[in-house]
């Protein structure tokens, strides 16, 4: 009976206080890679603990650990044996575990399919409306006065797009900063992480933490791409490029349309951390954070499987 309880406590901790603390932490801007790993660990461990708690509680009448109770459950459904009386609560928990698993998987599938459909539509429009840049390494030019740069990530090929307005706005090093930033997104497949967190959010729309997590992860991948761009250009060049594009963006758009009050000031955070006084976290501390993330996933896994392993050894 200890495993379901421990898993439930872990699920609650990962659903509420832990993400809040992490979202408020300021060290994440100094080490976006470690923070990103930690967010993913929280999502995986949280889901595992939630489903695991329901599953192990539901299976209590059928055996002492996950394997033996699973076997017992199958025996019970085919009608060979009923080991202990099955309570209503156990049945509800089992049903909940099943529903939650199916719900999460279906939403993931739906989010991926929807994103792919949007991506393809955008790509078709883009190919008609933009022209390849000569010697631009596969980048395309969009003939629009708005200063924009983005990439459209795809499973097989990704497209990086810059607008005529952006080229007019930035100088040569600034352009290089933008291109390196976008290339980092493409190379490190940031779109996969984004899609996973978006699926988590669409699965649990009433759950404020999922929205928070999606926003934080969105910011972290920008910081990560900035870090890659810093390997190629000066910090000051990158900061200036971000500021110029940001200011240009605001001018090209009717500001009365601004509605997303919950949005975080991504641009300020990105510029502030390019200040020479901001140092990345020490290597050892980064390592400790990654180790903690691995531990976080290991705990629910062990809680689920260890009793079965121990009884098999005994």
């Amino acid at each position: 009976m200890t495993a379901p309880l421990a898993l439930a406590i872990l699920a609650l901790a990962l659903a509420w206080p832990v993400p809040i603390v992490l979202a408020r932490a300021t060290w994440t801007a100094r080490s976006p890679a470690a923070a990103l790993v930690l967010w993913q660990a929280i999502a995986i461990a949280g889901g595992l603990a939630m489903i695991g708690a329901l599953l192990t509680f539901g299976l209590v009448p059928f055996g002492d650990d996950l394997v033996s109770s699973g076997v017992g459950f199958i025996g019970w459904t085919v009608g060979t044996a009923s080991l202990r009386p099955v309570e209503l609560w156990n049945a509800l928990a089992l049903g909940g575990a099943l529903l939650l698993t199916v719900h999460l998987l279906l939403n993931l599938l739906l989010t991926v399919v929807r994103a792919e459909r949007q991506r393809r539509r955008h790509e078709q429009l883009l190919l008609l409306l933009s022209a390849p840049i000569p010697a631009g390494g596969g980048a395309r030019l969009l003939d629009s006065p708005a200063p924009v740069a983005y990439c459209l990530p795809g499973a097989l090929s990704s497209v990086t797009v810059v607008s005529a307005g952006l080229i007019a706005l930035l100088d040569e090093p600034g352009m290089r900063a933008v291109i390196e930033h976008e290339k980092a997104h493409v190379r490190e497949r940031h779109d996969i992480v984004l899609v996973l967190f978006r699926a988590w959010h669409t699965s649990l729309p009433w759950f404020p933490i999922a929205y928070r997590a999606q926003r934080e992860v969105g910011l972290l991948i920008e910081l990560l791409a900035d870090d890659r761009a810093r390997r190629h250009v000066d910090d000051a060049v990158l900061a200036r490029a971000i500021a110029e594009v940001g200011a240009g963006r605001a001018e090209s758009r009717d500001t009365t349309q601004w509605r997303d009050a919950a949005s975080i000031d991504t641009v300020s955070i990105r510029i502030a951390r390019l200040d020479p006084a901001v140092m990345p976290l020490p290597r050892a501390l980064e390592g400790a954070i990654v180790a903690a993330a691995v531990g976080l996933v290991a705990v629910p896994t062990l809680l689920l499987l260890l009793p079965a392993v121990l009884s098999a050894l005994a």
């Binding site: 983005y150 459209l152 200036r240 090209s252």
Partner: protein
């Protein structure tokens, strides 16, 4: 596609083939079947409309270049929030306060 955006009139595949023939630097002429294949692909994607009342079929652009550009930029600039999820933009949304801060910062240098 540029050709069809440039005219109000519906064009047949042969008109398009003839018009394109003069453009290629190497002076090659596209086969009529190639033009038809491209047209039917554009039709399934919803970029051109086919008029079946005439023989041969005539095609016209489904929307102007500006229409398509507006749709694309709508997504790129993040005004259609539900549809911009697939893009990874260099700079996303900027709030008015933040924009003012950036202006001051740039002017200060």
């Amino acid at each position: 596609m540029e050709l069809m955006w440039g005219t109000e009139r519906a064009l047949s595949a042969y008109d398009i083939q003839a018009a394109l023939a003069g453009r290629d630097d190497a002076g090659r002429t596209l086969a009529a079947t190639t033009v038809l294949t491209v047209l039917s692909r554009l039709e399934t994607k919803g970029f051109v409309l086919r008029e079946r009342s005439t023989r041969p079929h005539h095609y016209r652009a489904a929307g102007s270049r500006e229409d398509h550009m507006a749709e694309l930029m709508h997504e790129v600039l993040g005004e259609a929030t539900d549809r911009t999820a697939v893009l990874e933009r260099f700079v996303g949304q900027v709030s008015p306060e933040e924009a003012a801060m950036l202006r001051r910062m740039l002017d200060g240098r």
